[in-house]
Amino acid sequence: MDLAYSPEYAAFRDEVRAFLDSHRDLAPPPMQRGKPSEQAKAWQQLLIEHGYAARTIPKEYGGYGAEPDILKSHIIAEEFGKARIRPGHDGDNRLVPTLLELGTEEQKRTYIPPTIRGEMTWCQGYSEPGSGSDLASLSTKAEVDGDDFVINGQKIWTSGAQYADMIFCLVRTEPDAPKHQGISYLLFPMDTPGIEVRPLVTMTGEATFNETFFTDVRVPTSQIVGRRGEGWFVANATLKHERGGLGDPNQAESRFHQIVEMMREETLDGEPLLSQATYRDRLVALQGQMLAMKFNGMRVLTHNVRDEEPGLPRWIVKLNGCELNHRMAEMAIDILGELGVLYPSKGFGGHRDEDVPYLRDAGFWQQRYMMDLGLIIGGGTAQIQKNMIGERALGLPKEPKVADPRFGGGAA
């Protein structure tokens, strides 16, 4: 047990802090939707030059080219988080690692540099109306015609599709193969004829997601990553990256401190909420859960630094982290009483277009309460997470398989 950082890492932390102190004015606002602004792109470029973004991506693809160092990456994330300054990105955290691992040299050179600079944005075409948890049953088909694939079908939950330049998309290319072996992973521009994007308004009142329809969309066969029929395995590399990100314990800690602040400032019968014993009890119970997950994160980090498989401590992060965030939002709403249900019809921040008297934090907590439920469902539902924990970490047997006549080989 040694929670201190060695001099090398302590110095690195100081360096990051000094950078943030002297450059914070250049940072764009923390959350922005839509295409990256010029300011955001300039910020990203500055961060890449200093090694705070695209850190381990090789120089020949436009990255900083550092050796992987999990602790330094962790320090960067932590310091940007504490300073509440928008961190940089590694392009798209699902696509770029996949290309680095499985893309051709030409694909890497074409796509990675503009992506990490924020000049080329992507959306993900995985889920379909009929294929959610059972993603491998997807039915958007791509048939070969000359040098092209011709794509027909529909994707859902394509966040950012309305402004993305490109899509990385799973399509069925071998309809007679067993279901996991008939899928291919394609890259194509969103302005290709035959693509229609329709906004999908969620329960939060916001349209952050979309449905994307493909009608005879022609994509050159060279736009495949990996080989035909291997798309499932190509995609799994990226799913792994996405799961790692959901349930981040730093986010839970920062939400927790927001609630404490609120309990100091908000009053009931003229007394601060913090003086209510029942609210306080719930607050401390949440703090205990939050701390347990924070220290669990330190344990995972230690395993990662040592290049060991963390096992169970990692398997539970998405399930517990998303649940914890949701409970924080629940609590924030409850302690606000009736004020907790005030909400702009267009969602978080919608008060700029609509007068919502007494609204707290621009509707943040209701938006989080609903959005976090979305995240409990998305990125592998809580029930799928429990299957994975049960089967992969605890060694419990899978459910017996039911034959699926839609696919070759018969097996599900």
Binding site: M1, G288, L291, R299, N320, K386
Partner: protein, 360 residues
């Protein structure tokens, strides 16, 4: 930055676990519980040979001078084996209090004996957390008068360490007091009512004038009870998983049903972060003194909640068998049940955590 056990800590835990697996199987636990024996000589001596009572005793007093984390790793093993031996009061709270607040003479007299397993201390501090049944002890002129409730390891004790109403800690001979066992659900450890009537006692000089010593003693006890629950709950989860892989109904092992699999996953998801919380709380007791009180509270309260959840859920996974005496799962269930109530049930401890943070 390294949040993990080191080699020595892993070896300590393996040696204690290995010893208990060999010497303290369920039959041994059951025999001791049936006989009302919460300090069987063979197990006590075996643990003396492993040096577990010496962990928190400083080297100059014949101990090994390790920290709360090592002690917590032992507590985890004892909980895992539902071992019927004194520990939290006698081998943790007593040496912590003596090392912190004892005079040189008191340290000389008692710490080596604790380390060698020659003296067992019962520890009575419950009234510092909350008094029931008119519990409370007054000190006057080198004597104690009053009643201390739920004295940890009390029925097995040679000596007593008792907090008075102001939180000062006193040593008295168990033979001079009226020590009455309070039978609880958990027959693997003793808790007692200690009645004192002008009983001769010696104050720990460092414990007067401020509650720091008694609070540090309570913190140590809470962290160890949390570790005990961690071990007991992990064992129940392991048993539930093994049972779910073996028991067949509807021509399938029941662990292949999501209804059962998800119960196991929920237990694992709740319990695994608890390990990190216990490690952190134990580590903080010396390394991060500013956080020590808060983390001891969190470990105690959170493990009490998760322990209860795991205890009931693991029993449910076992179906009707879980409810029987024959299977013996109830020994762990009851161990967790006692841990939860001792030194402050969750609401009490959470309110203390709020106070520590200036929220009350």
């Amino acid at each position: 930055m390294e949040f993990a056990l080191n080699e020595e800590q892993r070896m300590l835990q393996e040696s204690v676990r290995g010893y208990l697996e060999a010497s303290c199987p369920l039959d041994r636990v059951r025999a001791a519980a049936d006989a009302g024996d919460t300090r069987p000589a063979d197990l006590w001596e075996g643990l003396v040979d492993l040096g577990v009572h010496a962990i928190l005793v400083p080297e100059e007093y014949g101990g090994v001078g390790l920290g709360h984390l090592e002690a917590a790793l032992v507590a985890e093993c004892l909980g895992g084996a539902v071992a019927p031996v004194p520990y939290v009061g006698s081998s943790v709270m007593a040496p912590v209090a003596l090392a912190l607040a004892g005079s040189d003479a008191q340290k000389d007299a008692w710490l080596p004996r604790i380390a060698r397993g020659e003296t067992v201390f019962g520890v009575g501090v419950t009234e510092q957390i909350g008094s029931r049944e008119s519990g409370g002890v007054a000190a006057a002129g080198g004597t104690l008068t009053g009643k201390a409730m739920f004295v940890l390891d009390g029925a097995d004790a040679d000596m007593l360490l008792i907090a008075d109403r102001d939180g000062a800690l006193h040593i008295a001979r168990a033979a001079d007091a009226d020590v009455k066992r309070l039978p609880t659900i958990d027959r693997t450890r003793s808790t007692s009512e200690v009645s004192l009537e002008a009983t001769a006692a010696e104050v720990l000089p460092g414990s007067t004038g401020s509650r720091a010593a008694v609070l540090a003693t309570i913190d140590a006890g809470r962290t160890m009870l949390a570790a005990d629950t961690l071990g007991a709950a992990q064992n129940m989860l392991d048993q539930a998983i093994a049972y779910a892989k073996e028991r067949r109904q509807f021509n399938r092992v029941i662990g292949s049903f999501q209804a059962v699999k998800h119960l196991c996953a929920e237990m694992a998801a709740a319990l695994e972060p608890c390990r990190s919380l216990v490690w952190y709380a134990a580590h903080a007791s010396r390394a991060i003194p500013d956080e020590a009180r808060l983390m001891a509270c969190h470990a105690k309260a959170h493990l009490s909640e998760v322990g209860r959840f795991v205890a009931r859920t693991a029993t449910e996974v076992h179906g009707g068998m879980g409810f029987t005496d024959l299977l013996g799962l109830h020994y762990w269930f009851k161990r967790i049940g006692l841990d939860r109530q001792l030194l402050g049930a969750p609401e009490i401890v959470r309110e203390e955590a709020a106070t520590v943070q200036g929220w009350v």
